[in-house]
Symmetry: C2
Subunit: 412 residues, 2 copies
């Protein structure tokens, strides 16, 4: 099947600045496809601080297990990522493969094993031959260069139709710091599912425990607020590394009360938001970005539950694919969410157009204007529950025949 | 768009026996389409006992509100059902419409208003003109006849491609009793969603409180164990009526310790199961019936959560549409369910074929045999969690391009 590039692809991928002491190499290991870069090594010349958040799946991969355990030490010297095989649900052999890659990278980089981080994305349940990776790592470590962020983003793609990158530079209490990030989408790779991966590197000086707090904070309204199809992978991984190379006379950030804390969180959140939207926009078959905002719920958590119920509803998602302002299906999705709502207090907008109010269709609703709005690429649905001040926003994409084709056609 | 009849349609609908004192009339009210029967009246010549279960939606219709409140009285004299308009999210006007129909039927049948039950299915949010219904009810009441079950099942259809009926006759502690049931599917009616409705009538003599216990029991593993697309309607209604007309010398069943209790529940459960499977098989675009059995979970409730996570996963459902035994996606759906599971204890079967064991692919898995199995219409997925004795079964259908077309194409 020919892959169509997403409508939302960058016209020109952003150029990411160099980060001193962060060297990148990519290679073609032939894990699944020939002539594709499918292996990424990031080397931190000096120990970097590290934090991460991972899938909550009960069936997570051994790579995720290794990373979670290694975060206790909080120091990173290297990151190895392969695409083409998730090395998930591969039993004892899978753990040996993870261990072998970690062991090899730690020898080459003269680091502890818990200073090497690893992620794998691609087919589930297929044993992975580590030899093709181990053979390449020594050369990659010696040839790795600063820069190369676009190549890094490409090496971790599976069914993504475009590489995902974002960058921020800002004043961090008197010095200019940079955050670079790459991601790959929650897509499918025939014949199995893939994974959301994202890796973020900054030259700010921030301790690993503070970095973990910042990441846990910034992920809530970004990567934890998107959904393509409600399916969660066994390998989802988001990690951040800080090198401290930008620091001049400023001390390392080690406390939440340091005024730089919220400066960094703000820019990190913006960067993660940009990457997360790229993931949603490149959801399989997506032709519309859907932004669901819920206000007036009893709590923020209730608002998020309702927003997810709308954003994951196959009936809402097919309606958007059909460019239909089907607010009746939004009512249905609110009703089934299982949290407090009152039919007779709901208000529903598509864009600027209020379609429903006081438990019925808005008498002033202009069908023609709304139909024109629905032809746009970015559809905003807003719901006011009318009960409190809880609010949340979720981003999703529509459900098209191409989604079914990508995920169901390969055997037929 | 031309509607294709489901592959699972009856070759010949079952013939349902007459039930004495239960008279049925159908009519063409023109609520949405011309020349379709869209109105059903069932008259109980003598007061019938009644029980019901309803959608848990927070945005339920006024018809559902009326039925729930009227169950307190526990007696039914008439049931009015229309298709073509759900009269849901229609505000104050919608309540007036419901009240007007109930009031009219109660006058005609010389019954109390809480002895009249009502259900509406079709478009959400569209005001419904009750005049076309009120005009027809007097004639329908006087011409209603025993029998006519097939016509009743047809009158409540929306996007169903075949009428749904089932019947059971059995020895009820010394007398022969009958249960007849009709249902309509959780389908869509352009341009809005429809509803699951089911109405069951028996000539057994059972008090309304016992009937409610029986129905709540029998619904769990039948209508509460099916899913087409995880979307729940504002109007889902399942009601049962008993006339007591079969009784000879036997007393009315008024206690759970009466040995006839479980006899009735068994046959009621079988009948509801048969209707529920007809609903799933007629899910939009469905080409495969999927039966997901989970065993070995920590509790029955955990087993049901896992089974629903598998049965609702778009990735599992598209894989079945593609006739692919994609057990990696089943692992993913188990992992994301949020209840206890251990990757390394899982076993997964498709039909008789074990594909995964001990946290990895089954080494004896025969891909050719499994591929042949996947071409069948009824796909059974069994998962052993390996942690306890909790179990559950959920029935679902695959996710095809036709589903997206039915629910998204009408505006494009």
């Amino acid at each position: 099947m020919a892959v169509k590039i997403s409508l939302f692809s960058h016209k020109q991928p952003p150029e990411l600045p160099l980060l001193s002491g962060v060297r990148i190499a990519t290679a073609k290991a032939g894990i699944k496809y020939k002539d594709c870069t499918d292996l990424l090594l990031i080397v931190f010349d000096k120990p970097a601080n590290v934090a991460g958040v991972f899938t909550r799946s009960k069936c997570r991969s051994s790579a995720v297990d290794h990373c979670r355990a290694s975060l206790l030490h909080g120091i990173a010297r290297g990151l190895v990522v392969n695409s083409g095989n998730a090395n998930a649900f591969t039993g004892h052999k899978g753990k040996q493969t993870t261990n072998a890659i970690v062991h090899s990278a730690s020898s080459i980089l003269k680091a502890r094993e818990d200073e090497i981080f690893i992620a794998s994305t691609g087919v589930i349940g297929e044993p992975m031959d580590e030899a093709c990776i181990l053979n390449l790592l020594p050369d990659m470590a010696s040839t790795a260069e600063e820069g190369c962020w676009l190549e890094a983003a490409k090496a971790i793609m599976t069914t993504d139709t475009f590489p995902k990158l974002a960058t921020r530079q800002f004043d961090f209490g008197g010095e200019l710091v940079t955050i670079n990030g790459i991601a790959k989408g929650a897509g499918m790779i025939a014949p199995d599912m893939a994974t959301m991966l994202s890796f973020v590197v900054s030259d700010a000086a921030i301790s690993s425990d503070i970095l973990q707090m910042m990441l846990s904070e910034a992920v809530q309204e970004t990567f934890n607020s998107i959904t393509v199809d409600s399916d969660t992978s066994t390998s989802d991984t988001l990690m951040i590394f800080t090198t401290g190379k930008a620091k001049s006379c400023l001390p390392c950030l080690t406390s939440q009360s340091d005024p730089r804390y919220w400066i960094f969180v703000k820019h990190l959140r913006e960067l993660l938001h940009e990457l997360a939207l790229q993931v949603v926009c490149d959801g399989e078959g997506a032709r519309h970005l859907i932004e669901v905002s819920v206000i007036g719920a009893t709590t923020n958590s209730a608002a998020k539950t309702i927003a997810l119920s709308i954003a994951n509803s196959p009936l809402v998602k097919t309606a958007i694919a059909g460019e239909d302002a089907n607010w009746g299906r939004v009512v249905m999705a609110i009703g089934k969410a299982g949290v407090e709502a009152d039919r007779d207090r709901l208000k529903i907008w598509f864009g600027e157009h209020r379609l429903a109010v006081n438990g019925e269709r808005d008498p002033h609703y202009n069908e023609e204007a709304v139909s024109a709005y629905m032809k746009g690429q970015h559809i905003k649905i807003c719901v006011d529950i009318g009960l409190g001040s809880g609010k949340a926003t979720i981003w999703s994409c529509d459900l098209t025949k191409e989604y079914v084709a990508i995920n169901g056609d390969y055997r037929s």
